[in-house]
Amino acid sequence: MLTSSLLLQVSALPAASTLGTANPVSIVMFFLFVAITLYITYWAAKKTKTGSEFYAAGRNISGFQNGLALAGDYMSAASFLGIAGMVATKGYDGLIYSIGFLVGWPLIMFLIAEPLRNLGKYTFADVVAYRLQQRPIRIVSSVGSLLTIAFYLIAQMVGAGGLIKTLFGLQYELAVVVVGCVMTAYVLFGGMLATTWVQIIKAVLLLSGATVLVLLSLATFNFSPANLFQAVAEKYGEAMLAPGGFITNPFDALSLGLALMLGTAGLPHILMRFYTVPDAKAARKSVFVATGFIGYFYILTFFIGFSAMVLVGKPVIEGIDKGGNMAALLLAEQAGGTAFLGFIAAVAFATILAVVAGLTLSGASSISHDLYVHVFQKGVSNEKGEMKVAKRATVALGVLSIVLGLVFKGQNVAFMVGLAFSIAASANFPALLMSIIWKKFTTQGAVWSIATGAFLSLVLIVLSPTVWVDILHHPEAIFPLKNPALVSMSAAFFVGIVVSLANPETAAAEKFESEKLRTYLGIGAE
């Protein structure tokens, strides 16, 4: 009975969706968001004079606020639209993906959140370089950071352009330029304080928008998830509710799982957030809050995906976009009308804007704090000069991201996200972890570990089926796994350990002992 009424509804769907035409509600909503956030930037600009204010919001963000901001940094449009789309077209397999994205957070909590907060200042390289030789560590870790940021940024920009074209009927090029300019303004004028508030507002909008969407959809099923799942099973078969063909090779599964899980713990723009809170206690609270919100969000996306599958229908979703990326938006239109579609579309756009702002800020910090101060100025900090470089780097990254967005137009960007996570998991995470827990870790060990992780990630992903077969159209991949993390991350750990043991660094081992006081007691932490 339920199914027949649903089928009726589906056939009553308007033949053409309003997607792709200029929707006044979404345009008004979006400009409202930009206006409010730019006002915050103006307010933040007045408070942003020193380095600590620019990079770390003066360390005045509360644990709960930072938790929301972390969730905002992490819940990209790709995970909102992409995972809902994956569930809508492939069923349960989409959930496996989102679980991988979530389980990295407990590891951040157990292994690195407190030491990071206690040892670092502005970037995660502060922690790695704490007892090692500054220059080599700063150079190589900023390469790791900037590579991660670049690939993540390209994926977001190209995604933004495509999304806005579909949503607003706006030109791709125009969309990329708008996103690039607005995010540069946030970072340039308001620094970390403005970026944090942009993330908080966006997180609240995204969470509440997704909640309303789920409630509106579940209303069709008498607010019973059981009815929803039954409808899925009746319409598309019971197989949709259980794992399907997504994971076939266990090594592939493990490799992807490790990249998602440990990549999170190596993302520079996430790690940077731990310096915005006053102490280790607030850092802990922020991870707890972030994990809760992100988990809740992924459960919502799962319901959105299945509701779209039943209410909108797979053929309609796949007809508009093969990857299913428009599923959440089609569902919004179906369940809440054009006005609600406009709201969700504006939220998705705002989401991209906020994520690229966070990425740009962490890239600029790495250039000004790690490269300029510690490499070119040999550690002599000149606040004024550093701020100048940070702002120039922000503008340069803004221009670069617009250019990259234009150059990579129309490219499949899924592999770039995979690559960003795999570089983060292989180049950044092992060195960070070893520097925190291993006394015998040396400068050379860190340099070689980061270089190995970054280089192997890059080379192996080109040789993997993701690029070698899907993009370069060779018949067979040279490297069998779709994601290289299993090999590149293990190699980074292995090389870091072997090089450190082969060439002990007495000074670093001695300093490790006094570093402990700061790691565990927070004494001397800024």
């Binding site: 496996i96 407990p106 899980m261 206690k281 802990r284 707890f288 994990t291 988990g295 006094s514 402990k516």
Partner: protein
């Protein structure tokens, strides 16, 4: 920035500080292993024995759904356990050591 060298040495070498550090890592590692076992275990079941997850609870709902949601909830609960432990046990001990340092 650094505390006086002598006190620092004494604290690092004190049994209570060593106990604090090793307790911190026992808790961290126990929780880390828990989440790894949960997640990698789940992936391995997906890779090797999908049918196990397709087994139904009622007439149509497979175990895959509650297990998937359960992993998300367990990740959150494990972080909660850590925060609870750290805020109560760990922070108290840190404060005790700090008080002793100041008293010296």
């Amino acid at each position: 920035m650094h505390p006086p060298h002598k006190t620092a040495r004494a604290v690092i070498e004190s049994p209570e500080f060593k106990r604090l550090v090793s307790k911190r890592w026992s808790v961290s590692l126990l929780l880390t292993i828990s989440i790894l076992v949960i997640y990698i275990g789940f992936l391995l079941v997906v890779a090797f024995d999908k049918e196990l997850l397709a087994v139904k609870i009622g007439s149509y709902l497979p175990w895959a759904l509650p297990i998937g949601f359960g992993i998300i909830v367990s990740a959150w609960l494990l972080t909660g356990i850590y925060v609870y432990w750290a805020n109560n046990t760990y922070d108290t001990e840190v404060q005790e050591i700090k008080n002793k340092m100041n008293a010296n």
